[in-house]
Each structure stands twice: as C-alpha cells, then as structure tokens.
Subunit: 384 residues, 2 copies
C-alpha cells in the first residue's frame, strides 16, 4: 500500500438548486476538481449517492456520470452506505490508488433531494425497514431518542445542543458555498419549530441538492500537480454496527465511530489531541456531541461542556466543522462525506481565508450513515 | 497486486421467495459460502444491490447485512452499477484482497424484486431517466430496438434468438437452484406473449428474488481452505459507456463489453478461444448474441449461427450459461453477477455434475448494467 494524496477538490454550492440537474451537479463539482488539480488524467471513479432511485428515479449512477463527464470507458462505481456514501467513495478511491491499480481516481458525491421525492420517507430507508421504519419512525425521531438518552444520562442541556448549531452557522457564514450562510442565536434555535422533542428545526441539517469531488493520486502524479501544497491521506477507515437503535446497549454511544476512529489513529500514528481541524457528521446537533465523544475528543458526557466553552469554535482548541457542517452548509446526503474532505484540504493547504484554522497540519473527517450503523474516518496531513 | 482466489461460494434458490426476506436471502447465501470455504475469517464485504430503495424500501444495505450476518464492525459497502452490481462487488472484493489491505473479503449480491414494487419502473431507473425513461421506454423496449437493429444489419432470425432461451433452459434444467428448471422449445418461445416486438415473454429473463456470495482470499489463506480445488481470479475489469441508446453509433455493438473483455484478456494473458466455459448477461436473448460478439467469440453478426450450430450448448465448443443463465436461473439483478462467479467456480472445481463442462480450466463471467453502459468481466482459472 503506497501513499495517496488529494490533488484536486471541487464542490457546487449546496442548497435548493432548481436550475441544475442531478448529473449536472456532479459534472460541475468534478470539473472544478480537475481545474483545481490543474491536470486532466483520470483512471477510475467512485460516486457516493444514497438513493438516486428514490430521490430522482435514477440508478446506474456511475455509468451515467462517467458518460456525462465525458470519461467513458473508465470504470465508475456508485457506492452506498446511506449518509456515509461520500466517505465510502473516498475510501474506495483511496484503496484503488494505494493498491497501485490506478494512479488517479476521483471520489465524487452527489444527491438531488429537493426535486419531488418524499424526502423524509426516502431518508428513512437508511434505518431498519422491518424493525424501525415499519413502526413509523423517522430520522429526527431516532436522533431525538439519542438526544433524550444523552440528556438523561449526562445532563446535557437543551442550550448546549443549540450551541452546536450556533457555532456551525457562525462558521458557515464564512463559506460562500453554504446553503444557509448566516449566523443564528441560541434563542432562535430554542424558538424554532419542534420537529421531534427535544430536537427543533434549527437542530436539524437541511434537505439539500449538491455535489462534491476530490481527486486522489499517487505520490508520483501528485508531485506533478502544481499549484497547491500537498495533502496526504494518512488514514482511511470504515466500520459497521448495529442497524436498529433498539439493538444497542447504549443509545448515547456510537460504536462504529469509536471503532473507525481508533483504527484511523493507529493507521496515522497519531492521538486525537494531535488533530488540528475536524469535520464531523452533524446531521442533528446531538450527533456532533456523540461523535466528539466517540472520536475520543472528550470523555463520555463531557463533549457538550467543550462546545459551551467555545473549544470547538474557530479559534478554540479543537475547531469542528469550519465549513459550516451539515447544519449550515447543507446535507446532500451522498455528497457530504466528500465535501468534508474538500474542507479539510482547503484548511490543510491554508487556503481557508477568514475561516482558516491557524497552523492546521492534521485534519480528520468523520462521516456517518443512519443513526451510526456506518461510519468512515479519514485523516489528512498537510504539507503547507 | 497479489494473487486472489475464490475459496467459498454460496447462493440461494432463485425465484419468487415469499418466505424469505431481503436480509435473510443474503445471510443464507453468505452462510453457505462460509460452509463451502470451511473457514470463518472475514475482513470486509461488498454487496451488489441495484435498488434496495425502490424494491424493498431499504437503503444502507451494507450495514444492515453486516449486522444481520453477525459481522459488525467489518467495513461493508454496497456497490451499484445497475444489473452489473454483482460484478462490481466481485471486482471491489478482488481489489481489496489484491491490494494487500485484506486477506478475506466477501462479495455478495442480493435483490428482492417480487415483494411489492413496480418492478418495470424500478428497473427502468437503470436507463437514462431524462432522455429515455421520461419518454416511457422500458428495458424490453430498449433491447427490442437492439434486436431489430441486429436482425436488420445481420439477418439474425427470430428462431436464432429463441434458440438462446432454449439452450439456457436446457442447462438450467440441470441446476437445482434455478427459478425455471425445465426445458422449453423454439415453438414455445415463438408462441409466448409478445412483450416488445420482436421480443416475447420467453426471450426475457424473469423477475426474481435471490442472493449469491463468493469469498475471495489471498493465496496464503486460500491454501488453508481445504476441501475444494483452488480457483484463481486472473482478470477483473469494468468499463462504462454511453448511457442512452440513442447516443450510440451502432445499436448492435456493446462497446463496454468489448473494452472490459479486451482489458481482461490482457490481464489474464489469454485469447478468447482459450476460455472453456462462459457465463454472460442474457437478460434478453438478443443480449447473449451481442455479448458473444463483443467478447470476440464471434465476428459481428456471426454469433447467432454459432448458437444455431449448438456450439454454445453443453458439449459444444464454447458452452455458455451452463448455470441456466439469467433466463432460466432467474435474475435478481444485484445477485446475478455474483451468481455467475459461483457457477464458474463450480465448473472449474469440476463439481458441475450433469452440467459439468469436461476439462474446464478457464472460465469467463460477463455482467452488464442497463443496455450495456456498464460491463464487468472476470476470468477465473481452475487448478482441478
């Protein structure tokens, strides 16, 4: 297994993109990534997409996108691990370059969710159809159960949850590609519509259209791609866990995130405190809290206090979701995991502008499927 | 890249399996594969599934199946290339073992199509949604256009198409796991209901439930797995091509099959005439004809004559679809590409019983998505 580098990044604006089709979203992100890499070579592609079938009536996603990008006959495979599909695409691309099979592989992610589908029902297919969805549960409901359990066990407060959203909107307001590029207050979160008690509208990531793409390459090729400091992928992991919430021993813990993170730290030869900048899967505010604890950034039950103390805010000791996260940036589900790697690359190249984390050298991206039955972790190292 | 071996195979009966759920189908096939391998080790899984969302309301397929197989936390990723999803799963598993990342990887495929979905509409999502499906076209209609073009250009006859189905049912009648294990006649094909002129019901593969699994391993592990002659994967390729039929220059040719086959022959260091036993994607009778030509088994326009001469029948010079093919065995779309590798492994181990190809040493499996916008080819070599 050889070294793998990120040589190109691209993403569309995230939001309600009425004028751009599913295929065009991907093409736009991919072309931006080629422009960023300043080269044109491509051996293979992986596309993260959760449900082309349910959202836009389109499966056979890989061939479609290879065709419309003008890249046939290269092998193109769509991968799906629910909302972690983007992370899985990055991992497959990493594996193909690391193996020596290919020199340059694109990992893309795309979802078009606002066209016409029953989005809540489509997203619910990421839960256990026979044991959870059949009972009428939806994702806000499932994460609300996790939030209640966390509040009960650790006395996490409603305000602390709100602070996650406030912080991510603060970051997102500095990112020109976010769906909701504005600040919000704790009071606004607490006054927003109830979705599933205790989660309110402003605790929830939005329904979004969007695409992202990263181009991974071998060291030899990466050194020819001029224009940006090199960013190396030093860990790429994935784990699965209990699908249905009722089969878990502790609703507040994310075993798959713990496992994928532990293996990633081993691969990278680092400890959690060495990470300078982090993107996590904040599909709901409670998710960011639970993920922080699973990543080892805080002892169980201690993450919310760190959020409250401003440690996860830009300028704090462990800035999280400088992109705006899923909450402010938007969450086109198949694209989110790839967009996380886009943000880390920006940070590790030191190209983050007003939202740059000073001296960022190591970044970690954590992407999650369902209520955590899938998790991917990528650790990147900048050479800026 | 190191050598990769097939050490275990399993598959369910294919058919209308009312008593077995989506997840149980996969578990049954996977457990059979572990029993066949006579070992229990597993590092990772890939699952071919075309549309869990549209067929059974279940995405997040990888985590679900890892959970219900009792194999968390191993990484499990669902891959999708429409009806070539099974072939893509085998290719990803091959890559992961060949790379040295993992020692033992399971490639599974599963689809449950008969539960409740609008199957024709769900399958149509493998075509171009904006340019083909929007016009009302379905897969029988698309393949009918290809058949008409082949008949027009090469004077392929209606009877020659029927002979493909007759031959595959002849083989399938010898396979205890086929959906339709009985012989049919040319007269029956020609008298069956018209589906899309010139294709009749008995030209079409059926709607099926089913799952298949193969376990791939490194040489070191393979040599510990006693009980069966070794089978080595000597080529694993994939190609993409024009998605919509109207964008192709020649409706009778399958560019992706040609490309994936040519690269596979190079990888394996063989020529087409060295293949002893072949499984191809006969979703419609015309598909088998076009694939034969794309594989280089016949010059363009000459395949049908070989079928008529009995060359592709068991006992002929190039037996094709000894399993019964998609036509007789059934076509649970995500499983079909994996089931092809199951059949080749049986043949190359010389465990085919009454349908054994004498002296089979090299086998080729070709799996196709849509009207051919994706194709995978695997070449296996037996050491029996």
């Amino acid at each position: 297994m050889r070294d793998v580098y990120v040589i190109g990044i691209g993403m569309t604006h995230f939001g309600e993109l009425w004028d751009t089709s599913f295929r065009d979203l991907f093409v736009e992100a991919a072309l931006e990534a080629f422009g960023d890499a300043n080269m044109d070579r491509l051996d293979s592609m992986y596309i993260g997409c959760m449900s082309g079938g349910l959202f836009v009536g389109q499966e056979h996603v890989g061939a479609l996108l290879a065709d419309y990008l003008g890249r046939v006959p290269i092998p193109t495979t769509r991968v799906e691990t629910a909302c972690a599909s983007g992370g899985a695409a990055v991992r497959q691309a990493y594996l193909e370059v690391a193996s020596g099979m290919s020199e340059v592989v694109l990992a893309g992610g795309v979802e078009k969710m606002t066209d016409s589908a029953d989005v809540t029902a489509a997203l619910a297919t990421a839960a256990d159809q026979e044991y959870e969805v059949y009972q009428g549960v939806t994702f806000p409901g499932l994460y609300a159960l996790m939030a209640r359990a966390h509040m009960h066990t650790y006395h996490t407060t409603r305000e602390q949850l709100a602070l996650v959203a406030v912080k991510n909107h603060h970051h997102g307001a500095m990112n020109s590609k976010t769906q909701f590029p504005f600040e919000i207050t704790v009071e606004q979160v607490l006054a927003s519509s109830m979705v599933a008690d205790p989660l309110r509208l402003l605790d929830c990531s939005p329904v979004s259209d969007g695409a992202a793409a990263v181009i991974l390459a071998s060291e030899e090729v990466a050194k020819q791609a001029k224009g940006h400091p090199l960013v190396r992928v030093v860990a790429s992991t994935q784990a699965t866990g209990a699908m249905a919430l009722h089969t878990r021993t502790d609703l507040t813990r994310l075993d798959t995130v713990e496992h994928s993170a532990q293996v990633a730290y081993q691969q990278a030869g680092i400890t959690p405190d060495q990470v300078d900048v982090t993107e996590v899967h904040d599909c709901f505010t409670i998710a960011e809290i639970c993920v922080m604890e699973a990543l080892g950034y805080a002892e169980p039950g201690r993450a919310a206090a760190l959020v409250e103390a401003g440690e996860t805010r830009l300028g704090g000791s462990m800035p999280i979701n400088t992109s705006g996260g899923l909450k402010s940036k938007g969450h086109p589900v198949g694209a989110s995991g790839v967009a996380q790697v886009v943000e880390l690359t920006i940070q590790l190249r030191r190209e983050g502008g007003t939202r740059q984390v000073e001296g960022a050298r190591i970044g970690l991206a954590q992407n999650m499927g369902g209520t955590g039955a899938s998790s991917t972790v990528h650790i990147l190292e900048g050479q800026a």
